[in-house]
């Protein structure tokens, strides 16, 4: 039976691979079988198992107790089941307005649940973590600066102090070109030491500016948006590379099955090994 299952898997795998040559009846057959299995599995999972775990099993368990809490059953099982069943009034002419009741409940519950948690997890926490490394002149968990030695953690702060001090010195005391060179050099060190955090901050701001449509984008805003577009292209490239890795691994796994399990396993089964 196991060997038969290997042959079925191998048959469908080769049917799908046959598409590399051209569209053919074997490929179409395999695709239709996969789609049918998927729909059947989802039906089983959502309807049969869902009804069983959410409705029938809890009711039977509660009825099996010595003292049945009928109020609890009514509120938690029967009334929600009746409300959910109203979705099928879509099929009854003249009563289709009743489907809006369960839809409204689901949408309202989902929106209420999502509104607070989504803002906190996807906006506030992300905003804090994006700004924190860029504004902290002492290392605050930056991936880049975590790898520096302990004494180098103060480089951003020291370089900033040198820039400010030398600027004041140049402005009010000694207008010497050497001081100007020192200012530029330490400013460069400051920017490089915060470069990873600054790159993230610049990336976030420029990508956000790309999706800002409240006014016409021209001039500086257009150029900033182009920088954001570049960051997005890098992201899409990363997604493409990761997707390629997944697809390749699926193919490697399938080839490994065909060679080691299907062919070698069948030979061993035939030879009695």
């Amino acid at each position: 039976m196991v060997v038969l299952s290997w042959w079925v898997i191998a048959f469908f795998s080769l049917c799908i691979f046959s598409f590399l040559y051209k569209n053919n009846p074997f490929y179409k057959f395999a695709i239709h079988v996969i789609l049918g299995l998927m729909v059947g599995y989802m039906f089983m999972q959502q309807v049969i198992i869902g009804l069983s775990t959410s409705f029938f099993s809890p009711i039977l368990l509660e009825l099996g107790r010595s003292s049945t809490d009928w109020f609890d059953l009514l509120i938690q099982r029967f009334i929600p089941f009746c409300i959910a069943s109203l979705i099928f009034t879509l099929l009854i002419p003249g009563r289709q307005w009743m489907k809006n009741i369960p839809l409204g409940l689901v949408l309202g519950y989902g929106m209420g649940l999502m509104m607070v948690t989504s803002l906190e997890s996807n906006v506030f926490i992300q905003l804090r973590k994006t700004l924190q490394p860029a504004t902290a002149v002492i290392s605050s968990g930056s991936f880049y600066r975590d790898r520096w030695p302990q004494w180098a953690q103060f480089v951003p702060m020291l370089s900033l102090c040198v820039v400010i001090g030398c600027t004041l010195l140049y402005q009010f005391r000694m207008r010497m070109p050497e001081i100007k060179t020192v200012i530029y050099a330490t400013l460069l060190i400051f920017i490089i030491s915060l470069s990873d955090s600054l790159i993230i901050l610049i990336g976030v701001m420029t990508v956000l500016s790309y999706f800002f449509f409240s006014f016409e984008r021209d001039g500086v805003v257009e150029e900033v948006s182009r920088v954001g577009l570049t960051f997005m292209m890098v992201y899409f490239g990363a997604v493409f590379g990761s997707t390629l890795m997944t697809r390749m691994q699926i193919f490697v796994g399938q080839v490994e099955f065909l060679t080691s399990k299907w062919i070698m396993g069948t030979i061993q089964a035939i030879s009695g090994g």
Binding site: Q46, L113, T117, Q126, A238
Partner: protein, 195 residues
């Protein structure tokens, strides 16, 4: 499908069902599961996948809500890890890790960098890194994931070479096309001026 994988690992590490592990199966309640599980896991899962009641499972009695969990790991291919972060980890603040497929890796990095997840295993590369960690700490030998990285390396390098060559060819064809257009425009200008 999940049960067969867990059974295989349990045999390997000599763990007993209902004492060390339990497979509760699928529940269709959607995102409300995340909130309901904090009121009590038995509110969502009244029985395991074999039908054994929650009250009869010894290991399940140790876990009532998220604060009882040392580490929650989600293995998913779509947006489920994001839902775990959004509806469970942010509200109830417990350690959460994830194992995701390739296309989801870039989407999960913001959660990882913001410490909303303690770790992420991304696709076969993450599995190979995990096997490396196990080897480093003396827990195992090279596995299937590490062995697959050679094929991945060859494919990715080949793809980079092909993309670079295609861009070079595209640039050369475009330059040739531009030179042809400039030559035709010059010839037309000479014709129009009567030369």
């Amino acid at each position: 499908m999940g049960r067969s994988i867990i059974e295989e690992i349990a045999i390997q590490y000599d763990k007993k069902e209902y004492l060390d592990w339990v497979y509760m199966g699928f529940t269709p309640a959607g995102i409300s599961v995340f909130s309901a599980m904090n009121r009590g896991i038995q509110e969502v899962y009244t029985a395991d996948v074999t039908g054994k009641s929650f009250d009869e499972i010894p290991v399940a009695q140790e876990f009532s809500k998220y604060s009882d969990i040392g580490l929650a790991i989600t293995f998913a291919g779509l947006k489920t890890p994001g839902y775990w972060v959004q509806y469970a980890q942010t509200r109830y603040n417990f350690p959460l890790a994830s194992g995701v497929t390739g296309p989801m890796i870039p989407d999960q990095f913001p959660f990882l960098n913001a410490d909303q997840m303690v770790g992420m295993m991304g696709d076969i590369l993450g599995a190979a890194e995990y096997e490396g960690l196990l080897r480093k700490n003396g827990y195992g030998d090279q596995g299937f994931a590490s062995a697959s990285m050679f094929a991945q390396t060859v494919v990715h390098y080949s793809l980079i070479i092909v993309i670079v060559l295609a861009n070079i060819a595209s640039y050369m064809f475009n330059r040739k096309g531009r030179q042809d257009r400039e030559a035709r425009a010059a010839a037309r200008a000479r014709l129009d001026s009567g030369m």
